[in-house]
């Protein structure tokens, strides 16, 4: 379903993704783990047509994101790592917009919206502007939106960041259900090893833009001679803490936007 060969992405003098190859068969839940700045999000951006690769080849369901962007976008759904909601619209309007963009018929759109907002306990706030939501509520809405249509491939980029355990549980149950009943292929990243352990069929560990290990949780533990996936992860990637460049412009812009739109 997903095939990546010798993928490289360079930004000026920095190599974010350095010659990685892997394949994810249909119906698999594949976890992509790595420390901050390892190249996880960059890989997802290339797979989802947001960034062109420097070199190497990509395939989603047999289609090439660099040359068949429109067709590729029909194949997947994605929950982004950072916010992507429109704060000036209500929760229901955000879902409505998503449903229209993803060609979900009106009737199904209404039904799913209600079902998902209830599932993530946002139904009674559906007509509230999203900018008035707390961080956790926004996150929940973001995930509910990701499930509005049923794609062939679902990308989840650190979906549980900032979620409470209840919502996390809902999320993963839902992902497993989709995977089992609809054969949805799932490509996920997370920093919570127990989550990857719980849902993923196979796990790839990426560090400094290179894949350092790939296999089932058990294979990774056996290979590193450790008891838990977390220990295996640390054994593979070391214990140094990584820095990511911050998004410096956003705060300034937020202030400016507040000035303009109350």
């Amino acid at each position: 379903m997903i095939r990546v060969q010798n993928l490289v992405k360079k930004f000026a003098d920095f190599t974010a993704v350095n010659d990685i190859s892997f394949a994810v068969p249909k119906g698999e839940i594949f976890a992509f783990l790595g420390p901050n700045g390892a190249g996880k999000t960059t890989t997802i951006k290339m797979l989802t047509t947001l960034l062109p690769p420097t070199s190497g080849s990509l395939q989603l369901n047999g289609l090439d994101p660099t040359r068949q962007a429109n067709e590729v976008r029909q194949q997947f759904g994605i929950v982004f790592q950072d916010p992507s909601l429109d704060g000036d619209l209500t929760a229901a309007e955000n879902l409505e917009l998503h449903g229209v963009l993803y060609h979900v018929p009106r009737k199904i759109r209404r039904e799913r919206t209600e079902m998902l907002l209830k599932l993530f306990e946002l139904w009674d706030r559906k007509d509230t502007l999203v900018k008035k939501f707390s961080g956790g509520m926004k996150r929940r809405l973001e995930i509910a939106r990701g499930f509005l249509h049923t794609p062939k491939i679902l990308f989840l980029d650190e979906p549980t960041l900032g979620l409470d355990p209840q919502s996390r549980n809902q999320l993963w149950s839902h992902v497993k259900r989709l995977n089992e009943t609809e054969q949805v292929t799932v490509f996920l990243t997370t920093h919570y090893m127990e989550e990857a352990d719980r849902v993923a069929h196979r796990i790839a560990v990426i560090d400094h833009g290179k894949i350092v290990a790939i296999g089932t949780s058990q294979e990774l533990r056996e290979r590193t001679n450790t008891q838990t996936l977390e220990d295996a992860f640390l054994a593979l990637t070391g214990i140094t803490i990584r820095d990511e460049t911050a998004n410096a412009g956003a705060d300034q812009m937020r202030q400016f936007a507040q000035m303009w739109r109350k």
Partner: protein, 249 residues
């Protein structure tokens, strides 16, 4: 089609929900209209050109449409920073439709804002030469709005931060306004200035608006204005769509 409509609707909803912004952005054109309109009045009259308020009102309407539509195009920058842009860019909809929806939405908002200023001009004492002129004036407003919403999208597609935004506003949008003939007649200008005003798309917009609304002091003629604006609109829509399709996140 649905995608274009829903993105258009988004722009309009955002506009109607931000009342303080509506009021704030009316302040500047009103200042031009009232302070310049009445301030320059006597001098303008003595020069034999009639009422300055009559002269400047179409210019101020054009200016309002210009600023609102460019701003709505450049608001792409906010969507990029706040993340919503990604949501539309990965959707299974050709990017050209996303761009068209946004641009038409921005143009509609600019027309609504222009209409408010039109009404304000009437209250201040501006009188169109005939009521028949008003529909044609709206055609010109629409063309100005589309031209500059597409222009804003083309520029917004490449902007990464607020500094860039301010540069564009000060070095591109303000000159477009000042060189358009919104505030002074384009007759008998020094050669260089005259040449520059002729490559300014807003010149044709203001000229057209002024022509149909007051019937006086036209430079190019209604036909030329319509043709020029339509051609520029087509070009900028294509250019904007191309720039939009090249966005990387």
């Amino acid at each position: 089609m649905h995608a274009i409509f829903i993105l258009w609707l988004r722009e309009v909803k955002k506009y109607t929900r931000s009342r303080p912004q509506i009021v704030a952005s009316l302040a500047q054109p009103l200042l031009y209209l009232l302070v310049l309109g009445f301030g320059f009045g006597p001098v303008f009259q003595q020069a034999g050109n009639g009422s300055y308020l009559q002269f400047v009102a179409p210019g101020v309407i054009g200016m309002t449409v210009l600023f609102t539509s460019v701003f709505s195009g450049i608001a792409l920058l906010f969507d990029r920073q706040f993340g919503f842009l990604k949501e539309t860019l990965v959707a299974p909809v050709p990017r050209i439709r996303i761009m068209i929806g946004r641009t038409l939405g921005g143009a509609t908002v600019a027309m609504l804002q222009g209409t408010l200023i039109f009404v304000a001009c009437m209250i201040a004492g501006f009188r169109p030469v005939s009521l028949v002129a008003i529909p044609l004036a709206f055609v010109f407003m629409a063309l100005i709005a589309i031209v500059f919403a597409a222009f804003g999208t083309a520029i917004g597609s490449g902007l990464q931060d607020m500094q860039g935004f301010q540069l564009i506003m000060n070095f591109l949008v303000l000159p477009i306004f000042f060189l358009s003939g919104a505030l002074y007649p384009l007759h008998n200008l020094p050669k260089v200035l005259a040449a520059v005003t002729r490559v300014d798309p807003l010149s044709y917009g203001v000229d057209g608006l002024r022509g149909v609304l007051t019937g006086r002091l036209m430079v190019f003629g209604t036909g030329t204005d319509l043709l020029a604006l339509a051609l520029i609109a087509v070009f900028l829509l294509i250019f904007g769509a191309w720039r939009f399709s090249k966005i990387e996140i």
